[in-house]
Symmetry: C2
Subunit: 342 residues, 2 copies
């Protein structure tokens, strides 16, 4: 042991953490709005509850990006993963009928590399800005021994708001309502442990290799950011035209649709109504993954399902397409339970 | 490669995750209050903004427990770390003048061990219950390859509320105000990378060994939960008797006190006003850590500092002691900047 141990020698550099935070200050500040009352660096973030709600309800969710971070490590590209995280969280509160207010991130690494921290938080800040959401705070933790060199984990936490009587609770969903699918952008943030196993281990692809059958690299395809459906869906939610929303994450269509259907209602999904995107077909073929397993693990091309009364379908489809979404009728709500893929 | 890959073979067991969540359901439900509108398992948590505020401000913070988790791994004791996390977050919003509303946790591991998940979340739930805070949601992520067997990371997010004109902003702090220290319970959640290096590597102690000079084991001493000061301080904050609060975390007294002092004000701390607890003395001696470094890294026996007008000191000290705190006059606010230990 040297003369005297310091925290820095033990692996924690408080000064580097401070510098990394300064580097991202302008980005964080750019997400502020009129309700934001605190400065970066205070013990906690302060956010005034917006006026104009009769019975304001806070809608909150915590999430990570799973092992998609490991693709970011392999590709050494760290500025997209933050956007994944924010968009995932935004979608999770959108399905309850809420719009985002603010976001906090937790970034933990073994050794804090200032440029990686800056890239990750840059992605978070851009994601927040895109969704009209304030990056109110966060924690950057340096944890020697807990993460290997160059690795980190990232979690996020969102708070949104909704008028109590406008919450999407499922109570306005009836048998005969129509399911409309909104296309995903690739894998979003689910199924990466299986996808990595197949693409990197079985097919022995490198991140810079062309993705089989595609014009893009493996890294490009796998790092496609999780899509936010806020801009396209929020006007329709506000108009009361959306009866329910299901964010298709871990568990797939069969795992997530039932979470928003009231007791006594199930759904069928028409498999022939869309073409499974190539990324999923490549994974299924190379890994000999059964169809059932693919649908349990991946979104299979559908990132969000909207539940609509039949009289709203045409107008909603037109509005979604005008907003840049790929959207189509994919199935129907029926008496019963569970989700039938047919 | 076997016949067909599954998500489970790739290391992710969605069923085990579901069982782990069921095991903790009753604990989570026990933290619910009248404002809680959502059930466990929904996409997001719903929490009605409490009535009775003229200008309600949300106060939010994200945190982890640092490498204190590694002591939990070594000791194979997982039910205290959640309490650390909640109490840390509660203190961080308390210093802004807020009381907690709800909490969300993020627990990531390589392989989900149901009993470990249950123990960790049990600690979180008890911590929430103790602080009158709802455990509104959370994410339990299984990330093969990202965490070694038996290891995990834990982060938490808190949302509290304060009346806008009652926020502790520092503007009521003046030169001549008195600093009152509240004793910590050991290391709380800071300095564990240095403490582990010295105790486990240099002194080669095992978690079950007696802590040098103490009647308790190394694990017992190091896993002492981070103390929550909410119960003792909240009545005094509500009465307007507290001008400012500083939570003594990473960076120590010198790093944290200035965060709550307005520009143009500094402070002195009287070193002889308290005895440094044995745990810090053992670490300093064994690691030959300089006094200055010890004070930058550890709380050194002070978990919270309250800033009071001189006429409030006696009553506040009496109230804190009646609430079970060890509290004493430790210094004074002065013109200038920085914190002088003298």
């Amino acid at each position: 042991m040297p003369d005297g141990l310091t925290y820095r020698a033990a692996g924690v550099d408080l000064e580097a953490a401070r510098r990394a935070k300064q580097a991202i200050r302008a980005l964080v500040d750019a997400t502020r709005d009129q309700q934001t009352l605190s400065e970066m660096g205070s013990f906690a973030g302060l956010y005034a509850v917006p006026d104009g709600f009769r019975q304001p309800v806070l809608v909150s969710s915590a999430d990570g990006v799973g092992t998609k971070v490991r693709v970011a490590f392999l590709a050494d590209r760290h500025d997209t993963i933050g956007r994944d995280l924010v968009n995932h969280c935004v979608n999770d509160i959108l399905v309850q009928g809420a719009r985002p207010l603010f976001f906090l991130d937790y970034l933990a690494s073994g050794k804090l590399h200032e440029h990686v921290v800056a890239d990750v938080v840059r992605g978070v800040a851009y994601g927040c800005k895109d969704n009209g959401c304030v990056l109110l705070g966060g924690e950057t933790a340096e944890m020697p021994d807990s993460y290997p060199a160059g690795e980190y984990d990232l979690a996020g936490f969102i708070v949104g708001i909704a008028e109590r009587n406008r919450i999407l609770s499922g109570e306005r969903i009836r048998a005969g309502h129509v399911l409309v699918a909104l296309a995903s952008d690739g894998l979003h943030t689910n199924g990466y442990s299986l996808a990595r196993r197949i693409l990197f281990d079985s097919l022995e692809l490198a991140p810079s290799d062309p993705f089989p059958g595609a014009q893009r690299t493996v890294a490009d395809v796998l790092l496609d950011p999780h899509r936010s459906y806020l801009a396209a869906l929020w006007p329709l939610v506000e108009q009361g035209r959306v009866r329910g929303l299901a964010h298709i994450t871990g568990g797939g269509l069969e795992g997530n649709l039932p979470r928003v259907l009231p007791a006594g209602l199930g759904a069928w999904i028409e498999r022939s109504s869309w073409e499974i995107p190539p990324v999923f077909r490549v994974i299924a073929d190379a890994g000999k993954v059964s169809d059932a397993e693919m649908f349990r693990v991946f979104n299979m091309g559908i990132g969000m399902v909207a539940i609509l009364a039949i009289e709203d379908v045409d107008a909603v489809l037109a509005a979604l397409r005008a907003a840049g979404e790929t959207a189509w009728r994919v199935g129907e709500v029926v008496a019963g339970d569970g989700v039938e893929l047919r």
